[in-house]
C-alpha cells in the first residue's frame, strides 16, 4: 500500500468515530480499530522491501518553491516506529473501548486518537523536515485534546495546557533548528540532509541548529529540565497515558534524535549535551518515581527516567549505543504500555491509584498481578525478561563512556539510576499486590473482563518471548539500527544474549537489583527523609513563569489597547504622519514631468461645492440629518469628478452606491439619536483638528506631487488596453479587467460582499432574538410619523418605474462589456428599483412579492461566477480563463457571446443579493419598531371589499 495511504488513513478515518457516535460504543471502537488495522496492514505490505534493506520512497511536490514537499520514506527506523504506533494503537483502542465510562463521549475520544495516530505516523514516515514539522505540531495539538479529554477535571485542563506550552515552545525552537539545517544542507529532504554529515558538522551554524533541534526533542521527550510536563499530563485517561506517554508521543523526540543521528551525532557538543541531559533525567526520574504514591505518577517518572536512558545511549554517539537505544525503545514500549494499562485496570477496579491505599491485590486480581509483575520485573532488569537485555547493553555502553574526563562518572550514575529503577519496580509490585489483603479498598477489586486485560497480556507475552529468546528480535533490531546509523557507522557485531559471561555490566546489574531490594527494606525512613527535604516544585515555577508572562502581556496590551477607539485613531494618524514625514525628509523628489492642466470655471465650481460640503459636514456634523445631506453632496461631487476625468464606470458605480448608502444611513438614523452632543473639550477638538489638518496636508502634498510626475514604471495597463479587445472581446477596458484579466479578484470581492451581507443578517437576527427585540417593539418613534405611510403618488410612480428601471439595469448589464456598465452597476441599479418598492409600498407588501430569498441570490451569484471559472478547467485552461465568440442570428446584428458575461451575471446577482439583504435586514429592525405595517400598500383600494381601518389618532402631532 502506498505510504500516502498509510499516513492518510488515520486522518480520513478520524471522521468516522465522530459520525458513528450515535451508532454506539461498539461501532465507534470497531471502526477505529478497523481503520488502524487497515493502516497497519498497509504498512506491513511494505515489510518485505524494508526488511531486505530497501528504502521505500514516494512523494509529490506540494510547495516546491519553499522546499516543502510531501515526501514519505520508509526505512527500518520508520517502519519500526510506525509498527509500534499502529500495533500498540490497536491494543489501546481495544483497551479504551472497555476502559471509558458510559458517560464519556467515545466518538470524540477515538477521533482525537486517530488524529494523533496519523500525526505520529506522519512524523516517522516524513522524508521532508518541513513536512515533519507540520506533523510534529499536529501531535502537540492532538495530544492537547487527548490529555484534556476529561474537560471537567481541572488537572486535565492544566496538564493539557502545560504539555502544549512546553512541547509547543520546543516545537517552535525546532522549526528554527530545522530551517537552519535545511539552509546548511541546501535541501529540506531528509534523504539529502542525511548524506551531508561533514558539511553540516563543519558549518558554523551547526551548534545553533543542534541546540534548537535538541530543544524540540528534549521538550517532546520530557528530558531534564523539561521533564515536568509529563507527570502532569497523567491526568489524561489511562489509555491516553499508555499510548502517548509510553510508546508514541514521548518517543517522537527520541525518534528525531535517532533520525538525525547520522548528521548530528559524534561531535563533542552532541555528546556532552545529549549524554548529560539523558543521565540527569535518568537518575532524577528514577529517584522521584520511587517516592510517588500515585501509580500513574510513578510510571510517568519512570518513563521520564527510561527516556533519559535512551537519550543517554543516543548521546554516546557509538553504534553500539544506538543499537542499545533501539532495542530499549522496543522493550520499553512493551513493558511500559502494559504497566500503564495495568495501572488503569487497578484504577478502574479499585477506584484509586494511590499505592498507600492498595496492597494484597494478588489474591483479588491474580491476572492483573501476573501481568503487572512480569512487566515491572522486566523494567527492573530481571533476567529472562526483555528489560534485562537492553539494560545490560546500556550498562555495558555506560562502562565505555567517559564524560568530563571522569571514567567512573557515567557507570556510577547509570548504576544508581538502575538501582532506583529496580527499587520503584519492586515497590510497585510489593506495595500494590503483595502484603496482606486489606478491607478498606475504595471499591471491591476483582479482575476485569478480557477486554481490559488482553491488550497488556499480549504485550507481556512479547516481554517474555524477547526476554527468553533475544535472538528472535536481533535481526529486526539490527535492521533498524542500520537505518539509524546510515553511512555514519557500521552495525556492531555484538549478539543479543542473556549470558555474556562475567562482564562488568553483569556486576552492575546485580548491584542495581540487590541495591533496589535493600532500598525497599529501608523505604519508610527514606520516604520520611525525602518528604522532609525541601525541593523546587516544577509546577510552581512553571506557573510563576506563565503568570509573569501573562502580567507582562497584560501591562503592554492594556497600556496600548485600552478600548479607546479615538485614541487608536489619533495614535495611528500621528504614526502615519511621522513615517510619511520621515520618507519625505529622507527621500528625493524628481522634477515635475507633467504639465499642469488648466482648470475652467466649471471645474472650480465643482471643487468649491465639494469643499463647501465637506467643511459644512465637519462644522455642522452635530445635526446628523444635515450631515447626511452634506455627505450626499460630497458623494455626488466625487461622481461628477469621475465623469469629468474619463471614468464613466466609476461615476455610475459611485452614484448608485451613494443612493443605497444614504438609504442605509437614513435607516440607521431612524434608531440613533438625531444630535451628537458636545462632549470633547475645545482643547481636544483643536488637537484633533491639528492632527487632521496635518494629515490632510500630507495627503494633499503627496497627491499633488505624483499627479505632476509620470509613473516610475511603465503602467501595466498598456497590456490591458492592447489586449482588451483581442483577448477579452470587449471594448470597455475597465469591465474587461474586472471580469476577465482580474476576474479572480472580482470573484473574491463578490464573496466578501456576500459575507458582509450575511454578517449583517446574522447581527440582525441576534438583535431580534435578544433583549433588544422587546425594546424595539415598545419603542416610540422620536420623529413625527408621516400621516400617509404609503403616499399614492409615490406607490404608483415606483410601480410604473419598476419595469423601466429593470430594463435600464438589463441594458446597462448587456452593454457592460463594450460600453460603460456591467454587472456591478446593473446590480446596484436593480437594487435601487427594488428598494423603491420597499420604501413606497412598505415592507410587508414587498416581502410578500419577493420570490427568492436574498441569501439564495448571493449564493447563486457566487456559484455562477465560480462555476464559470471552473468551466475553463474542462478545456484544460486555468481557473476563470474566458472565451468569446461572435454569433449572428438574423435579423439581428452580429453580437458577441463571452463566458465573461456569464461571470458578470454572477457578479450582478451577488451585488443585488448583498445590497438587498443588508437593506432588508435594517428595515426589519424598523418594521418591528413600527406599530403596524399594512399588507396593502395603497391604503385606500377601491377594488378591495374590506373597509379600510378606522383612522387612528396620530401620535406626535403630525
Amino acid at each position: 500500500m502506498s505510504l500516502f495511504l498509510v499516513v492518510a488513513l488515520p486522518f480520513l478515518g478520524a471522521l468516522l468515530p465522530g459520525l458513528m457516535n450515535q451508532a454506539g460504543r461498539q461501532a465507534c471502537a470497531g471502526v477505529t480499530f478497523t481503520v488502524t488495522l487497515a493502516a497497519l496492514i498497509g504498512l506491513l505490505t511494505n515489510a518485505p522491501a524494508v526488511l531486505s534493506g530497501e528504502v521505500v520512497q514516494t512523494g509529490v511536490n506540494w510547495l516546491p518553491a519553499l522546499g516543502l514537499n510531501v515526501n514519505f520514506m520508509l526505512d527500518g527506523l520508520g517502519f519500526f516506529f510506525a509498527c509500534l504506533i499502529l500495533g500498540i494503537g490497536l491494543l489501546i483502542i481495544t483497551y479504551a473501548r472497555f476502559y471509558l465510562a458510559r458517560e464519556d463521549h467515545m466518538g470524540e475520544f477515538f477521533t482525537y486518537l486517530l488524529l494523533f495516530q496519523g500525526a505520529m505516523v506522519g512524523i516517522v514516515l516524513s522524508d521532508n523536515i518541513l513536512l515533519l514539522l507540520i506533523f510534529w505540531e499536529l501531535t502537540s495539538l492532538s495530544s492537547f485534546l487527548l490529555i484534556g479529554y476529561w474537560k471537567h477535571l481541572p488537572e486535565g485542563r492544566q496538564g493539557a495546557r502545560m504539555a502544549l506550552t512546553v512541547t509547543g515552545m520546543g516545537g517552535l525552537a525546532m522549526i528554527g533548528g530545522m530551517l537552519i539545517l535545511g539552509q546548511i544542507a541546501g535541501s529540506y529532504d531528509l534523504s539529502v540532509i542525511l548524506q551531508n554529515r561533514e558539511l553540516i558538522q563543519e558549518s558554523p551554524l551547526y551548534l545553533p541548529a543542534l541546540i534548537l533541534i535538541l530543544l524540540g526533542c528534549f521538550t517532546k521527550s520530557a528530558q531534564f529540565p523539561f521533564h515536568f510536563w509529563l507527570p502532569h499530563a497523567m491526568a489524561a485517561p489511562t489509555p491516553v497515558s499508555a499510548y502517548l506517554h509510553s510508546a508514541t508521543m514521548v518517543k517522537a523526540g527520541i525518534f528525531l534524535m535517532a533520525r538525525m543521528w547520522p548528521v548530528l551525532s559524534g561531535t563533542t557538543e552532541w555528546f556532552v549535551i545529549v549524554t548529560s541531559a539523558g543521565l540527569i533525567t535518568m537518575v532524577l526520574g528514577a529517584v522521584i518515581a520511587l517516592f510517588k504514591h500515585d501509580l500513574k505518577a510513578l510510571l510517568a517518572f519512570s518513563t521520564v527516567s527510561h527516556l533519559g536512558l535512551i537519550t543517554m545511549l543516543l548521546g554516546t554517539g557509538t553504534a553500539f549505543g544506538a543499537m542499545a537505544a533501539m532495542f530499549h525503545i522496543l522493550n520499553h514500549a512493551t513493558f511500559k504500555a502494559a504497566l500503564f494499562m495495568s495501572a488503569g485496570i487497578i484504577d478502574h477496579e479499585t477506584h484509586t491509584r494511590d499505592i498507600r491505599l492498595l496492597g494484597g491485590l494478588r489474591h483479588l486480581m491474580p491476572i492483573t498481578f501476573v501481568i503487572a509483575s512480569i512487566a515491572a520485573l522486566s523494567m527492573a532488569g530481571i533476567p529472562f525478561l526483555n528489560g534485562f537485555l537492553s539494560k545490560e547493553m546500556m550498562l555495558e555502553e555506560a562502562n565505555h563512556t567517559v564524560l568530563f574526563n571522569t571514567p567512573w562518572l557515567v557507570p556510577a550514575l547509570a548504576t544508581i539510576g538502575s538501582l532506583f529503577s529496580a527499587a520503584y519496580c519492586f515497590r510497585l509490585i510489593g506495595h500494590t499486590f503483595l502484603g496482606p489483603k486489606r478491607d478498606d479498598y475504595p471499591a471491591a477489586p476483582h479482575d476485569p473482563g478480557p477486554g481490559l486485560w488482553m491488550p497488556p497480556a499480549i504485550l507481556v507475552v512479547l516481554v517474555v518471548v524477547i526476554g527468553c529468546a533475544p535472538f528472535l528480535a536481533e535481526p529486526f533490531v539490527k535492521i533498524v539500527t542500520a537505518s539509524v546509523l546510515g553511512e555514519a557507522a557500521e552495525v556492531p557485531k555484538a549478539y543479543f544474549k542473556i549470558w555474556h559471561g562475567l562482564v562488568p555490566a553483569l556486576y552492575m546489574s546485580i548491584a542495581a537489583v540487590v541495591g533496589g531490594l535493600l532500598l525497599m527494606l529501608i523505604f519508610n525512613p527514606l520516604l520520611s527523609a525525602w518528604e522532609n527535604t525541601p525541593r523546587p516544585e516544577a509546577k510552581t515555577i512553571f506557573e510563576a513563569i506563565i503568570a509573569a508572562a501573562v502580567s507582562l502581556a497584560q501591562t503592554v496590551t492594556h497600556g496600548l489597547h485600552n478600548g479607546a477607539f479615538t485614541r487608536y485613531a489619533a495614535i495611528f494618524s500621528v504614526t502615519v504622519l511621522a513615517v510619511g514625514y520621515h520618507a519625505w525628509a529622507t527621500g528625493t523628489v524628481g522634477p515635475a514631468t507633467r504639465t499642469v492642466q488648466p482648470a475652467g470655471p466649471v471645474e472650480l465650481a465643482g471643487w468649491a461645492m465639494l469643499v463647501a460640503a465637506t467643511c459644512g459636514l465637519v462644522a455642522l456634523h452635530r445635526n446628523r440629518l444635515l450631515a447626511l445631506i452634506f455627505i450626499g453632496i460630497v458623494g455626488l461631487m466625487v461622481s461628477v469628478g469621475f465623469v469629468f476625468f474619463s471614468a464613466p464606470d466609476l461615476a455610475m458605480t459611485q452614484i448608485t452606491v451613494e443612493v443605497v448608502t444614504i438609504i442605509l444611513l437614513l435607516l440607521a438614523l431612524n434608531f440613533l439619536p438625531n444630535q451628537t452632543p458636545i462632549e470633547s473639550t475645545t482643547l481636544r477638538r483643536v488637537r484633533d483638528g491639528a492632527v487632521a489638518l496635518a494629515l490632510g496636508a500630507g495627503a494633499m502634498m503627496m497627491s499633488y506631487h505624483f499627479l505632476l510626475r509620470e509613473a516610475v514604471q511603465t503602467p501595466i495597463s498598456e497590456f490591458h488596453l492592447a489586449n482588451s479587445y483581442k483577448g477579452g472581446g470587449g471594448t470597455n477596458v475597465v469591465n474587461v479587467i474586472l471580469v476577465d484579466f482580474r476576474g479572480f479578484d472580482t470573484f473574491g470581492e463578490i464573496i466578501v460582499l456576500g459575507i458582509a451581507a450575511l454578517l449583517i443578517y446574522a447581527l440582525t437576527e441576534t438583535l431580534l432574538s435578544g433583549p433588544v427585540r422587546a425594546r424595539l417593539l415598545n419603542r416610540m418613534p422620536d420623529q413625527p410619523r408621516a400621516g400617509d405611510m404609503h403616499p399614492m403618488m409615490m406607490v404608483v410612480l415606483t410601480r410604473v418605474m419598476m419595469p423601466v428601471v429593470l430594463m435600464v439595469g438589463f441594458y446597462i448589464f448587456l452593454r457592460g462589456h463594450n460600453e460603460p456598465g456591467g454587472g456591478f452597476i446593473a446590480g446596484l441599479v436593480v437594487s435601487i428599483a427594488v428598494v423603491m418598492q420597499y420604501m413606497a409600498s412598505g415592507f410587508a407588501w414587498a416581502t410578500a412579492r419577493q420570490r427568492y430569498p436574498y441569501h439564495g441570490i448571493i449564493g447563486a451569484g457566487v456559484l455562477i461566477a465560480g462555476l464559470t471559472g471552473i468551466g475553463s478547467w474542462f478545456f484544460g485552461k486555468p481557473f476563470l480563463t474566458s472565451d468569446f465568440t461572435y454569433v449572428r442570428i438574423p435579423p439581428f446584428e452580429k453580437f458577441e457571446l463571452a463566458t465573461a458575461a456569464l461571470f458578470d451575471v454572477g457578479v450582478f446577482l451577488a451585488v443585488v443579493g448583498a445590497v438587498m439583504l443588508s437593506l432588508e435586514s435594517f428595515s426589519r429592525l424598523a418594521r418591528r419598531a413600527h406599530v403596524k405595517d399594512s399588507d396593502y400598500a395603497m391604503d385606500i383600494d377601491p377594488s378591495r371589499d374590506d373597509p379600510p381601518e378606522p383612522t387612528k389618532p396620530l401620535e406626535g402631532g403630525a
Binding site: W607, A697, Y704, L707, V733
Partner: protein
C-alpha cells in the same frame, strides 16, 4: 486642475480624520465614509488625470489608465458592504446598551466595585 484634485483629497482626508476621532458612532461612520472617498480618489488619481479619454476602445489614440478605475470600482462596492457592517455594529451596540460612544467605558481602578464611567 491637479491642484484642485490634490487639495480635494487633502480636505477629504482631513475632514475624515477629524470625524473619525469623534466620540460617537455616527460621526465616526461619516468620517470613515469621507476617508473612503479620499482613498478612492487618491487611488484613482494614481492613474493620473486625463480629461475626455475614457478607456473605451475607439479610434482614439490616447486613453486614460483603466487599471486604477477597475480597482476603485470594486473598492466602492466593497466599501458599501463594510459601511453597512459597521453601521449594523453601531446600531446593535446602541440598541443593546443605549449608548453610542465608540470608546469603552473607562474602568476606574479606585472605585470600590469597578464602577464604569464614560
Amino acid at each position: 486642475m491637479e491642484f484642485l484634485v490634490a487639495s480635494a483629497i487633502g480636505i477629504l482626508t482631513a475632514a475624515g480624520t477629524y470625524m473619525v476621532m469623534r466620540l460617537r458612532t455616527f460621526p465616526v461612520i461619516l468620517g470613515m465614509s469621507l476617508l473612503t472617498y479620499a482613498v478612492n480618489v487618491f487611488l484613482f488619481a494614481s492613474g493620473r488625470l486625463t480629461v475626455s479619454a475614457p478607456p473605451i476602445l475607439t479610434d482614439a489614440e490616447v486613453y486614460t489608465d483603466p487599471l486604477p478605475q477597475a480597482l476603485v470600482l470594486t473598492a466602492i462596492v466593497i466599501s458599501f458592504g463594510m459601511t453597512a457592517v459597521v453601521v449594523m455594529i453601531a446600531l446593535g451596540s446602541y440598541l443593546g446598551a443605549d449608548d453610542d460612544h465608540v470608546n469603552d467605558p473607562v474602568i476606574d481602578p479606585d472605585a470600590p466595585d469597578g464602577e464604569a464611567k464614560p
